[in-house]
Amino acid sequence: MGRDAHARAILGDELCSQLANTRVLLVGAGGIGCELLKTLLLTGFGHITLLDLDTIDLSNLNRQFLFRKKDVKQSKALVAAEAAGPFNPACKIEPIHADIFEPRFDLAWFSGFDIVLNALDNLGARLHVNKMCISANIPLVESGTAGYMGQVQPIVKDRSECFACMPKETPKTFPVCTIRSTPSTPIHCIVWAKSYLFGKLFGESEDDEAEFAEALKNGENPNEIAELRVEAAAFTKIRSSLNSPKAPALVFDKIYNADIKRLLGMEDMWKSRTQPVPLEYTAIRSGTFVIPERKKPGTQKAMNVVVNGHSNGKKAVNGSGTADSAGGLKDRKALSLEDNVELFASSVQRLAKRQAATSQPLSFDKDDDDALDFVTATANLRAICYGIQTKTRWEVKEMAGNIIPAIATTNAMISGLIVLQALHLLKKSYDRMRSVYVRTKPTAPLGVSTMAPPNPYCAVCRDVYVPFPCNPEIAVLGDVLRAIGIAKAEDEDDDNDEEMNGAEEGKVMREAYVYEGNRLLFEPEMGENAKKTLAYMGVTWGKSLTIMDYDGKVVNLVLVLLPLPPDHGADAKPFVMPSTLPTLPARPPPSAPSAPPTPAKPTLKRSAPEDDELIDDTRAIKRIRTEGGAVKAPAEKETTIREENGVLILDDDEEDNVIELD
């Protein structure tokens, strides 16, 4: 009786033997990844490639059980493989410390696996792996956890929804004026401190004009925008004197006194809002400052604003006031007005000193104590100006750093559920595939739902993918298009027609747009690019050309660029087209009444976030490739038990590196 006797009894000899030869790609060695690696090894999977870009942080150790304190700052993939190997010495683990977006992890590389398991924390990478698996037609199990909740979703092309079939929740954003002039909640103050003020004083100096122009176009108040322009100009002056001992006073007077007074001058703005009060640096520091009475909106009558039960702001104005004890930690201590001013002054000096020493712009990092002190103090002081609840440093860290709570237990359950779904996929028991939700519902903590069919409008899994071996340095776009039957542009010069291959007389050519990602390279009216090589336009191995039918009658054809085979003759055509191209299915008619909300033009889905006019609050992605955010559980479909709609599933727990992209 060997170590696999139990597994053989439960899963059967056939499946167990299959597992030993199964090649698994596990993307992510964090919260879910560590648990999943363990479970895969013990279940008897024979070949595991483990990829992760990250290094280990102290705050990982409460759940990523393969890591120890001595491993902090080491590669997660390498340490995890080393630590888990002894769980089953027969398994071959290949750890890779790299970014899944690297071009070397191309279609051919993905095709070398039998199954892919996502244990990722960010939406960009999850969407990327989903697309790679769809294009290579490799089964994928998707997963995510946040606190007590988690989700597992098996994905098989054409048999289920893919990860991109349902729109994902986009990051929360706030109008410019809410952040800059009229905050009403603590998060408004924190976003202002972190995304605006911090950058203005210590970050890359940049031009606000584009943002203002967008805001105006978006219908925001022109008078407010004009005021913001004045404010912006004043920062340039302040930056030059940040190293003077007077810097804290100068900064303070500008942002908490002069700017507030100027805003108060705009009477329109306060017709329906409580007015902010200016603060006085010297008076606060000498202990003589009393928060003035506030004027209620629409009246001239003064009202006494009570900030957390204290009317003069001298006492603690701590935020959430939870019943939970502070545990005696300074981070959890309620900060008084004076505390905040002290923290402000010292953090301004520390940051200015650092910046002067390196002459490098600083960027906000929640694990940078100076930066967090600065954001805590400046956000709280602004909150006091506006009569908003203040927050402790601990709370500010979570809000500013978009920290998602994470625990071992949810990850352990999810890892088990991933493997159970993976077993169904490997057995090709597609009827047993289920999405599983770990949730807090008392009667059904593990909810299941059967697989929804692919969204007919999905811009990822409804496209047809064709591997396209080529030499992008030589291959010319026009030649490629001709070879797949796309008509030349109307204004294209005909000089070279004789030399071009594949331009067969009488062949019916269709018209199309050509994209690389969200970049439009070619359209029938604009065909200059037809003469350029693919490499010239930045289309290289690992990237793809999306051919979108001009009339929208058929789905997109996606040519995925790969290196030419080694035996490809040097004189032969610089690309290999399959002898017969797949027939492109008809695209369903748009705007069907029950159609899910997807963009009319599928390529829009690939475009970069267009939020110039908005200040991004929540998350941006460490790899700065796409927006992150919550993923909605799909709507209930013939569940075997009743499904709770709207279970919010967030990314996995690698929140440590989720930073703000402003």
């Binding site: 479970t39 409460n62 004890s325 545990g327 559920l417 009667t443 059904a444 038990i641």
Partner: protein
Amino acid sequence: MARSHVDEAALYDRQIRLWGFDAQTRMRNATVLVLRLRGTACEVIKNIVLAGIGTLKILDDAEVTELDLGAGFFYREEDVGKKRVDAAIPRISALNPLVNIVSLSSPLDLSDDSLHALFLNIDLVCATDYDRPTLEKLDEACRKQGKQFYAGGTLGSYGYAFCDLGEHSYVSQDKTKPNAPQIRKTFKYASLSTALKASWSHLSKRDTKELNPEVVFSILAVWEYSARHGVMPNSYDTVHELQAIANELLGAAQVNKLVLKAMPEKHVELLATTAPYEISPVCAVLGGFLAQDMLKAIGGREAPMANLFTFDGMGGGGTVCRLGMKGAV
């Protein structure tokens, strides 16, 4: 002292943000006794040690066999023949040096005096992979001494967890709403023997169906079979007896006949041949669920389950039946 607090806050940051400092402090002050050290127990232990309980006591008298390597990630091939506790303790300690680990390699003695002595200074007992009569006995002893009791384990691709927390109070807060108030609730739990006599007759058709009685009563049938025969079912020959037992239990519990008139073969057939075995993914789900619930009970934060959880690994779902407990949620 202050230093260690800061370190602990950094180490436990991501979970304190979920359950708060007070719950973390209660975990730190808790002593947990885990009985038996099979696959599910390994998972439970990993999870509660990472979370930072104060002291973990483990009792197991068996030696590591090659079979244990399948789901027991605290064991290595070279450990075969050693006491399970001796092989596991160093690896458990390494998970979190802040936790005290104590091991006992004596057999479990179910005499009243012996259990009384065993449970002294323990806050919570977690018994894994025992038969039903043993669990009933352990629960009874826990009730007498006011200890929180958890039972759990796997049966092939199925799993179960039960808890008896006596009279338990907890605080919960709706995190989806800003500034939601913290609410304190108190529940009276039932003993295992009371829970297993509970009737399902008051449940609506939909509520009955939601609880997946096919899975629940297949598992209870395995318990009953093992209690009658002293061994687990372990061949196809037992399918009919399991099925007959399940039907008896369904009748006794007055389960809505419109939902489940008679036990089909599907689950009992699988259980008949696989119940004594364990695989890692099912242990991971059970160990994750059990540990999470134990931490809720210890921390006094959020509602622990009430009171019998069953899991069907191949189906993917897990439900909690509220058996023999008065009062609604």
